[in-house]
């Protein structure tokens, strides 16, 4: 682990320069250990693929104190992550939501049924959340599904949409513009600012997608409102 100053109010703990499950466990373990300390001087923790940005109040904590806090946690040995739950996210892969399913099938040389089977057959790790509230960076998509994003992003993508961008897959938690290839939609509300916690999934969780039909989508959507 290296600790580098990132700004006048933050330091970055860096665990490596390549994505690996071990590196991710280190990031998550430090994230959880710091979160558990509930140090009021620490304002925000941003996990990334291989690093954790620790943002603090520079009027009450120095860079040296922040670094020492991180090093002390690393020295006693970071707890190994992974008692995290495996969550199942229902997804309707009907053409109504999977606007780009045909394209993904054509690009990958798979049938639509094969795309759905592969996508819902894998277990994904939530590496971290970022970009927008509740958006998860997921690891573990089968390589066969790799499809480049749209040349021109859509102006509005429905909340719950599930998409593919290159080697990544993800769920749009809220309606936003977006360039991912859409293959389905979940009726589950991924982000609710009034809920505690406001996001359905957390860094460190594992998730699977389970295919549902249109009627089930309607029922679940109604239940989640």
């Amino acid at each position: 682990m290296k600790i580098i100053p990132a700004s006048d109010s933050s330091v970055m703990a860096v665990f490596g320069d390549a994505i690996s499950p071990q590196t991710q466990d280190c990031v998550l373990a430090l994230f959880r250990a710091l979160q558990a300390r509930k140090d009021a001087r620490i304002r925000n923790l941003h996990p990334g693929y291989t690093s954790l940005l620790v943002d603090f109040d520079p009027l009450s904590m120095t860079h040296n104190e922040a670094s020492a806090t991180i090093e002390a946690l690393a020295e006693v040995g970071l707890p190994t992550a992974n008692d995290s739950p495996l969550l199942t996210i229902p997804v309707c892969y009907d053409a109504e939501f999977g606007l780009d399913l045909k394209h993904v099938a054509a690009h990958t040389g798979l049938s639509i049924a094969e795309v759905i089977r592969l996508h819902s057959g894998a277990t994904y790790q939530v590496c971290f959340l970022g970009f927008t509230g509740g958006f998860a960076y997921l690891g573990g998509m089968p390589e066969e599904l790799d499809t480049p994003r749209l040349a021109t992003p859509r102006r509005a993508v429905m909340a719950g949409s599930v998409g593919i961008a290159g080697g990544q897959t993800g769920i749009y938690p809220t309606e936003t513009p977006g360039g991912w290839r859409l293959i389905g939609c979940t009726p589950v509300r991924m982000f609710d600012p009034q809920a505690q916690p406001p996001t359905r999934i957390q860094a460190g969780d594992s998730i699977r997608f389970s295919p549902i039909d249109h009627a089930e989508f309607g029922r679940l959507r109604q239940a989640s409102q």
């Binding site: 970055m12 509230g133 938690p173 809220t174």
Partner: protein, 309 residues
């Protein structure tokens, strides 16, 4: 009491200090783009310094008061009027019942803050009253104000208003030179490129908002093409995407990013970023982290010393 929005202005939102402790869920801090002016406006009317205010952008709102109120405006200068009288900047003013406050165009910056004694009464979401525009929550119904909105004000026993010393605000310059510390990927850029970055006078693009200020100027690039694994982005990080035109990440920023960060605007100059207008010129000058912290301590000290009595 309620305040009716007669005209919303260009982009008016409820903001306070911002939302802390949620970036790991992808939720940016939001909060005032010029926190210093928000604090001054609140202190003038006798509020808690971080009470919810209205942040107005370039062109302000027109508001009608159904009860007498004590309000103050601080930040970029604007020609504002209450009924037909000039409304002075940076002082607490009693606005009579039924009057209309017409907030004008910002003339020497981008934003100003309207504080009202008691503070605006909006629900606290995740510990803050700030509007999260992208997430559509916080502030007033998670959005910018519209004509016809009715804003409620928290009742408050009459608080003591404060006055600024004459010329107190003259010593804070809203300069076009922003102080920076080196960024996490400074080493990805050659010394020549970094010198060029510091020597360039950039222009703030029209495509700038509270999430990021896009700059236009001589393009800069890393020594070799290199992909950054998405990581956390500090407030004020200056990232350099492939087109070589730097972007200053700001209060509504994405919480993680995938572009190298060459430098980072210091906390003490964050309010200057909040006052940059499209087409303004901006340059960067490097300071050390201890210098940045010293500047912040000086600023906090200054904020205590500017009051009469």
């Amino acid at each position: 009491m309620t305040i009716r929005v007669v005209k919303p202005g260009l982009f008016t939102t409820v903001q306070d200090r911002g939302r802390f402790g949620y970036v790991h869920l992808g939720i940016s801090p939001a909060g005032a783009a010029d926190l210093l002016s928000l604090r001054i406006a609140n202190l003038l009317v006798g509020n808690d310094e971080y009470a919810p205010t209205l942040e107005m952008t370039l062109l302000g709102a027109t508001l009608e008061f159904d009860e007498p109120a004590v309000v103050a405006i601080s930040g970029a200068s604007c020609d504002s009027k209450v009924d037909s009288n000039t409304f002075p900047m940076s002082s607490a003013v009693e606005v009579p019942r039924g009057s209309v406050l017409q907030c004008g165009a910002a003339t020497d910056g981008a934003r100003y803050y309207l504080a009202i004694q008691g503070g605006f009464d909006v629900p606290t979401v995740m510990g803050s009253a700030s509007t999260d525009i992208r997430g559509r929550f916080g502030g007033f119904e998670g959005r910018r104000l519209q004509s016809g909105d009715l804003l409620r004000v928290r009742g408050l026993e009459r608080a003591r208003t404060r006055r600024l010393r004459g010329g107190a605000l003259e010593s804070i310059r809203r300069s076009g030179i922003l102080r920076v510390t080196t960024g996490g990927q400074r080493g990805w850029f050659s010394d020549d490129t970094y010198e060029k970055f510091l020597a360039t006078s950039y222009v703030v693009s029209e495509q700038s908002d509270r999430a990021g200020l896009r700059l236009k100027g001589g393009a800069i690039s890393t020594r070799e093409p290199r992909q950054l694994l998405t990581d956390g982005t500090p407030l004020g990080a200056i990232q350099v995407p492939q087109d070589g035109q730097p972007i200053i990440l700001f209060v509504d920023q994405q919480t993680t990013g995938g572009y190298p960060k060459i430098a980072n605007v210091i906390t003490a100059d964050a309010y200057c970023v909040g006052q940059l207008r499209p087409r303004d010129a901006v340059r960067f000058t490097e300071v050390s982290i201890p210098e940045a912290i010293a500047a912040l301590c000086d600023q906090e000290h200054w904020l205590k010393e500017i009051w009469e009595d």
